[in-house]
Symmetry: C2
DNA sequence: CTTTAGCACCCCCGCGTGCGGAGTGCTAAG
DNA sequence: CTTAGCACTCCGCACGCGGGGGTGCTAAAG
């Protein structure tokens, strides 16, 4: 059952990656009750029982009736009772359904949007901007904010330069895209004179200037594979050197994290061992990067609930991401927040959404 | 009472900053017992009672006698009983006395030193080196490792390069001290040709390579006042910029933190609220930087116990720092570890000490 | 067939109680 | 000064108990 009217573009029926089980039909009333139950649980964190639900759902039903319905929901795996006689708590599948079909997102009013926009200073340099965005996300949501650094889609080699260091080491300086300068130390098989390095650099500059970095890499490989009799030693070194230089250039992505400590306030995160796991994941970065990478595949807001992320560290967490894009709708990167699964999605989603849009807009004037 | 034979140069009697109360005389036996008590407590984290102490101290004394002595220690504020009938736990003053006079540091054996040395790769660039050092500290001690970035005392201009950008902008690239690369966009009053920029760079390189930045700047100013023709505003602003960059960097010190999450393992850190405070302090950096700044005043190992640090976030923590220095004993920076006050000082102190020495040695060949 | 009231049951939670263990301070004797 | 003995204190733990919130089932009502 595709959810055509899926208000937010969440990872759901559109992709069969997570939603392997097709939901059995679930009638209007049950949906309404599930929604009320989840909203209630999000509000106070307690298991919610039939009585509260009866008073709270807006439907004129007796607790007994509600018990029957909720029992169905439990059979469907949408809610779960922590113990025999407690109320019900949403399961991950329950949250999934809620987010895909039920949640009523509360759009931000104009003044809030203005506030966010005001925080994203167009004048600041990129990394400061990312930090601000991240800090803002974490502040607005009281959770951890993450902003992945934007891709440099076209990495045109602008200039390359080598400087001799001691001990067979050479400092390579690459200028990419007008203003990005990278430098790294490479180890060579023999010492090089400065003049020699200059000639190598000249050759590479003449040959490759303006080309995309990946193209450069490919071309270098080609040249290596050809006959190479006519390639003199100089050329050979040039290529060897360039090869080494570009090898490390795998576009290692990175992100800016803020407000992790906010997470320590939630009672569902009280377990120090889990907390440690989570913070270690933040440090290692791999999990977050992988997850954000997945989010790149579709534009807009996506949500990973608990185990959907595939990382144990995020087990009791939800991750809400949104891509931010350039004016011509090219995706530049991803941002988002990480918090306990029990989060106020109706507020969080628009915050992430709007921040992403505004960040894209601010980023736009630049290259 | 100055402790002339203070084994490790700790913040103690030498400076009256923290040690305001002069210890009443405390006899040999009491010292021995205090030492045994603290060592025991460090080992198992439990309050230690008279019986354990009797069996453990090596002195042939009955529990009753020991009780008397320990009661004295309590009156002196060196130990403290959590409740009426528990054993004793060292107070901060107790730890202070222990560290200043009693602790028997266990020097690392040669193989351990070699291991550390092996991890500090002299080939790596500075920031990687700092990260490695920090990671190693945290691993060896199972606590949080901190390495403050070294000061750049002498800033020798190694190479300068200009690249024309669009719109009267020029990208200046400076290589300083072998491997530090700085770059910035400079706005110029008129467009420059590439050839022209090359000429300027060549001139600057020929003229000033190897000189200290401030010297360069002075010389440039001199030249500007004299023969105007050769000197370009461009050159001037390039050097100015380099200077700025470095000033900015020196002012805002920074550090590399590793293994914070280790701290989550200690049961004395189980309180999530305190943990949060601590981690926020790590993020804000101010507290750590201030503390490390204080450590710069004296060479060698220093220890801040609990409230001595003056920061609430470190209340149940101790900070063990050591300065690392160049060959000519000029202090380059500080490193250290942060952990619960109940830490194995006899092991931690030499680890920090040796790491600092080795880091200084590795850093030495450069600049 | 659905909804509802009633009922028995279940389980968590907080509270008081009692008990054993560990350690102390005091006292009096060696 | 040191030590044995003793009374005392306090913590931690297990146990039991009662109340509250909530459930599932059943049977009656709509």
């Amino acid at each position: 059952m595709p959810c055509a009217d899926c208000a937010i573009r969440a990872r759901c029926c559109q992709c069969d990656l997570f939603c392997t089980v097709s939901e059995p039909t679930i009638n209007e009333r049950a949906q309404h009750l599930l929604k009320a139950l989840i909203e209630r649980h999000i509000r106070d964190g307690q298991p919610v029982g039939s009585k509260t639900l009866a008073q709270n759902s807006g439907l004129a039903l007796s607790p007994a009736t509600i018990r029957n319905v909720v029992a169905d929901l439990e059979r469907m795996g949408l809610v779960h009772a922590p113990h025999t006689s407690a109320g019900r708590v949403p399961t991950e599948r329950g949250y999934r359904l809620f987010i895909d079909n039920l949640v009523s997102v509360r759009p931000l009013d104009e003044s809030q949007v203005q506030t966010i926009a005001g925080q994203l200073d167009a004048e600041a340099d990129t990394s400061t901007l990312m930090e601000n965005a991240s800090a803002m996300l974490s502040e607005l949501t009281h959770m951890a904010g993450v902003v992945m650094l934007p891709f440099q889609k076209q990495e045109a080699l602008r200039h390359i330069e080598f400087l001799p260091l001691s001990d067979n080491r050479v400092l390579a300086i690459l200028v990419i895209n007008e203003r990005d300068v990278q430098n790294r130390v490479i180890h060579t098989s023999r010492p090089y004179e400065r003049a020699e390095l200059e000639r190598i650099a000249n050759y590479l500059n003449a040959q490759f200037e303006g080309q995309d970095l990946s193209t450069v890499r490919r071309n270098l490989l080609d040249e290596m594979q050809g006959d190479r009799e006519h390639i003199d030693r100089l050329m050979h070194s040039a290529i060897e050197m360039a090869q080494q230089t570009f090898e490390g250039e795998n576009g290692a992505q990175d992100y800016v994290l803020a407000g992790e400590t906010n997470l320590m306030d939630y009672k569902e995160m009280a377990d120090v061992a889990r907390l440690r796991q989570l913070f270690e994941a933040f440090n290692e970065k791999r999990a977050v990067l992988d997850l954000f990478d997945k989010s790149l595949q579709a534009q807009g807001v996506q949500i990973f609930i608990g185990q959907e992320s595939g990382y144990e560290a995020f087990d009791n967490c939800s991750v809400v991401t949104a891509t931010y894009s350039s004016a011509d709708d090219e995706i530049l990167g991803v941002l988002g927040v990480i918090g306990p699964t029990r989060m106020a999605y109706d507020r969080i989603i628009p915050v992430v959404d709007v921040t992403a849009k505004l960040l894209g807009r601010v980023l736009n004037p630049r290259n």
